[in-house]
């Protein structure tokens, strides 16, 4: 018989029961002390009377004072101890609840994520097995190897997402910020992104330099994740609009797809890691589902945030990341130094003739 794995609640139940017994015992003890001190005075007098001794009013007075002193001391110390017990009960219960929640999330996470890793692993393995076990033509073998390679890339990026998530939840996000023109950075990445997502048409709108204090690698990860999401949900042959603009005191990168929208899902929920809406067996999205969480955490580390919207005129979903703009003086200094050496960030945007006209 296979031994059944205990759920987090079951694991904690036994020590928790012991703790409840200890607390209950302590409560009883306090109760007993209350009784003992409250009745001290009466019992003392009864005993003295029983021995046939008559006390002078002064002596009686002194005894009453002593016993009420003991009572006061008890009330103070016992009350304090009782309060400590209550606080400890509160803290322990809260800690236990948090532990249980974490353990449950961890478990969901493990089950939600591991089988996603198996699919690319299976197909990569089958492609390679097919080459090894069959007489495949060189053309077919090459195609199989290319597909296997893509599967492994996908597997690699899933593993990377899991590791990044782990790191974010363990140590938080560490950034190396520098003054970056986000518009320039995105337009420099357009060629690479178009190559990666050849099934969709990427369009960039970045009319002017947008300077922010940002970590270049993290910003690229944000862009990559948003664009892959848009390409995935938009589907074959659709358009993905990328926009980098200064909006008030914020820099905004938004990526919009032509997909079906959020289908009534709560945007807040979609971003949470470990959480997957609906029936777990019914597949709603491919991948480990950590991409948006990573984007949000990176944006927040920059002092910004992630926002998901659908129900827009023209349909689709828009994911926007905002972060504070760099100060005017820093931007001007940086812009001044860059105009001399290059044609500026508009060069990238200009390569797409349709984009500039869309600027609103």
């Amino acid at each position: 018989m296979i031994s059944k794995r205990l759920s987090p609640e079951e694991v904690i139940r036994r020590p928790l029961r012991l703790y409840a017994v200890i607390v209950a015992f302590y409560g009883l003890l306090l109760g007993w002390w209350v009784y003992f001190f409250a009745s001290l005075d009466g019992r003392m007098m009864d005993r003295i009377a029983a021995k046939g001794v008559t006390l002078s009013p002064e002596a009686e007075q002194a005894l009453h004072e002593t016993s009420s002193e003991a009572m006061r001391m008890f009330l103070f110390e016992g009350g304090f101890l009782g309060l400590l017990v209550l606080v400890s009960v509160f803290l322990v219960m809260r800690g236990v609840q948090r532990e249980i929640m974490l353990a449950r999330q961890q478990r969901n996470f493990v089950s939600a994520v591991t089988h996603e890793l198996r699919s690319p692993l299976s197909s990569a393995r089958l492609y390679i097995d097919s080459i090894l076990l069959r007489r495949t033509s060189p053309e077919k073998a090459e195609r199989y190897l290319r597909h296997a390679r893509e599967d492994l890339d996908r597997l690699g990026s899933m593993v990377e997402d899991i590791l990044v998530t782990r790191r974010i939840s363990d140590t938080g996000v560490e950034l190396e910020k520098e003054l970056v023109d986000l518009a320039d950075s995105v337009s420099g990445d357009m060629e690479r992104l178009s190559g990666m997502h050849s099934q969709v048409r990427l369009q960039l709108e970045a009319p002017e330099p947008v300077f922010a204090e940002a970590d270049v690698t993290a910003f690229r990860q944000i862009l990559d994740n948003l664009v892959s999401n848009a390409a995935k949900y938009g589907g074959e042959g659709t358009k993905v609009d990328i926009q980098v603009v200064a909006d008030g005191r914020k820099a905004r990168l938004s990526v919009r797809d032509e997909g079906p929208g959020l289908n009534g899902s709560d945007p807040e929920q979609l971003v949470e890691p470990f959480v997957r809406g609906g029936d777990e067996m019914v597949r709603t999205r491919e991948g480990v589902g950590l991409g948006l969480y990573i984007v949000r955490e990176l944006a927040r580390a920059h002092g910004g945030d992630l926002k998901l919207e659908d129900g827009l005129a023209g349909g689709g979903t828009r994911a926007s990341v905002t972060m504070p703009l760099a100060s005017r003086s820093a931007s001007q200094a940086a812009a001044g130094s860059s105009t001399g050496s290059s044609t500026g960030p508009n060069a990238g945007a200009g390569s797409d003739p349709g984009a500039a006209g869309d600027a609103a």
Binding site: T114, H115, D129, M281
Partner: protein, 231 residues
Amino acid sequence: MTAQRLLVVEDEVHLAEVIADNLELEGWSVDVVGDGLGALERVRSSPPDLILLDVMLPGMDGFSVCETLRGEGIQTPVLFLTAKSSRDDRVKGLALGGDDYLGKPFDLEELILRVRAILRRSEWIREDSPAGDRLVLGEAVVDFETFTVTIGEREVELSQKEVLILRCLAEQPGVVVSRAEMVDRVWGYDAFPTLRTVDNFIVRLRRLLEPDPRNPAYIHTVRGTGYRLTP
């Protein structure tokens, strides 16, 4: 003879491609569908000889697809191919009417062997039985084609497994058929059910077919070995 038709239901494009390629190289004709509802439609309009069914699918999961098909009386064999391969998942898949279960990542040769085994088994189910298409046990008449038993005026439907067990016995009247042989022929080489399962089926069949189930006149127990049918 035309090639047997297999339906691969898998939403991962690469996986579907490489599975289909390999099954075609084995001489089967293969169709691919990427989602649960599409699979249901395809099977209803032209039932294949075997369905290779992923569990996590868009629209409707593989377990529900299998359950729905069985509910509609479609007995096409199902081989589950899935990344969810815990013991509970396997048991669930088989309980819902699946014929076999293969966890990802799987071995190419194992996949092909299992497909072949299921097809061989279903061939036997469809073949004309050497025992004829009817089995008469006193008042009860079992029809191997329509999966029914008629007792006087009353007609009762039998499950596929019940019919197969009876066929297994009827093809060798008077001869002892071991439980292991029945499991092998009725459930397949992977022997998911325990030998006790066979006993449970026999108890149900006796209750239906024997005038006195406590003193069986037709289906006899051979202690420690198996069962023997005397029509």
